[in-house]
């Protein structure tokens, strides 16, 4: 399994545990939305991820969020499943180093 090593500013250290926890609940929400093919919900979560990822130092989350938003717009459920799986794997393997 690939391990992503991410460097985050020390000043954001306090926010990161909460941030990661909220991403896990995003995964839960996305998983449920996928099962219901709730594209509106998928789009909203994708949009939020796109907005916040890079700001916290996770450009990958922004990229995946944008792709998820687009997949929902296109109503491409297979693509959406794939991307959410990718996001889940990323979140599980990411290793954070504070600088």
């Amino acid at each position: 399994m690939t391990v992503y090593r991410i460097q985050i500013d020390q000043e954001l250290a306090d926010l990161i545990p909460g941030f990661m926890e909220n991403r896990n609940s995003d995964i839960i929400q996305l998983t449920a939305a996928l099962q219901q093919e709730d594209y509106a919900k998928i789009m909203v979560v994708g949009h939020t991820l796109k907005g916040i990822g890079g700001g916290y130092g996770f450009p990958v989350i922004t990229d995946l969020g944008a792709a998820i938003e687009q997949a929902a717009k296109d109503q491409d459920i297979d693509k959406a499943y794939e991307l959410v799986a990718e996001l889940k794997a990323y979140l599980q393997s990411v290793e954070i180093v504070y600088e």
């Binding site: 000043e11 306090d14 939020t48 796109k50 916040i52 700001g55 916290y56 450009p59």
Partner: protein, 315 residues
């Protein structure tokens, strides 16, 4: 000084706060929706100087989105001077055009880059403080002049000075001094029915009419405040003042400015109170104002669109 951050995403709000706090902006207010932001802004002290100096507004939010909220704030007289920076994860040109059209001063794209965020915030805050300074200078200048900005007739400051002069003249010459107070009837309802711009236009018309009634250097027509006007008549008694006041009342009716909400006449009218005094060392100009005001109050109580004369104030 504080910065209001409006964003439906919890993590976005926290991030913006962390980045701003790191740069020494300590007073950061967070709102999860435009409705909450509005509530926060409305609960601020309304002394004309809002505590919030900058709003960072997310564009995509459920219910009221950033652009609608921006447009709404810009139409609110108490809030329109607060600069808004639109924060958006969608960099579509169309959205940016809509944001600027709605009154946003600048925009930042998400994901936020620290350097960009801080640069935009700093430059907009600088602009805001320059605007505030210019505004207070303009206000200062206006108070030094003697004309009312809206109606172009004498302002309250000019009224106070003229009355003081006239008072001392009358005191020295043992002559009477008269004062007329005029108030537009049901003016709030007029504003409600026709809007504030029409209200301003109405004030200008009435002011011009009252001004046209007095044309000698011993008389002064002034905007006393709000929809209240006054005329000072040096060396005049109540009888003459009543004639002038009645002339003004009839002239205002003659303007024929439609007022659909007025329960007394379908046009704009004024109520008039008149008082006079022969000043003495024991009396003050305040007593004359009070007497004219009381007479005006009786005119209102008695059905409006009429004139009432106070019995002569004991000088």
């Amino acid at each position: 000084m504080s910065i209001l951050v409006v964003d439906d995403s919890f993590d976005s709000r926290l991030l913006v706060r962390a980045l701003l706090k790191d740069q020494g902006y300590s007073d950061i207010i967070l709102a999860e929706s435009a409705a909450v932001a509005l509530e926060i802004l409305r609960s601020q002290p309304t002394d004309g100087h809002s505590k919030v100096d900058l709003i960072l507004m997310d564009l995509v939010m459920p219910e009221l989105d950033g652009i609608e909220a921006c447009r709404m704030f810009k139409q609110d007289e108490a809030l329109q001077d607060i600069p808004i920076i639109m924060v958006t994860a969608s960099s579509e040109v169309e959205n940016l055009e809509r944001a600027f059209a709605a009154g946003a001063m600048d925009f930042i794209t998400k994901p936020l880059k620290r350097v960009e965020l801080l640069a935009r915030v700093r430059s907009v805050l600088k602009l805001k403080s320059e605007m505030d300074q210019r505004k207070s200078r303009e206000e200062e200048l206006r108070s030094l002049t003697s004309l009312d900005g809206l109606t172009g007739i004498a302002n309250r400051r000019c009224f106070d000075e003229f009355l003081e002069d006239a008072w001392h003249q009358a005191l020295g010459n043992h002559q009477p001094l008269a004062l007329i107070m005029l108030d537009i009837d049901f003016f709030k309802m007029y504003n409600d029915a026709y809007g504030h711009q029409a209200g301003d236009e109405c004030l200008r018309k009435v002011a011009k009419t009252i001004q046209s009634i007095v044309n000698c250097p011993f008389e002064l027509a002034a905007r006393y405040g709000g929809e209240e006007f006054s005329v000072i008549l040096a060396s005049s008694d109540a009888q003459y003042a009543a004639q002038v006041g009645e002339k003004a009342r009839i002239a205002v009716v003659g303007l024929n400015v439609p007022h659909c909400r007025s329960p007394i006449l379908p046009v704009v009218t004024v109520s008039v109170g008149v008082a006079s005094i022969v000043p003495s060392l024991q009396s003050t100009a305040q007593e004359l104002i009070k007497a004219a005001d009381d007479a005006l109050y009786y005119a209102k109580q008695n059905g409006r669109n009429q004139i009432r004369i106070a019995s002569e104030v004991k000088g």
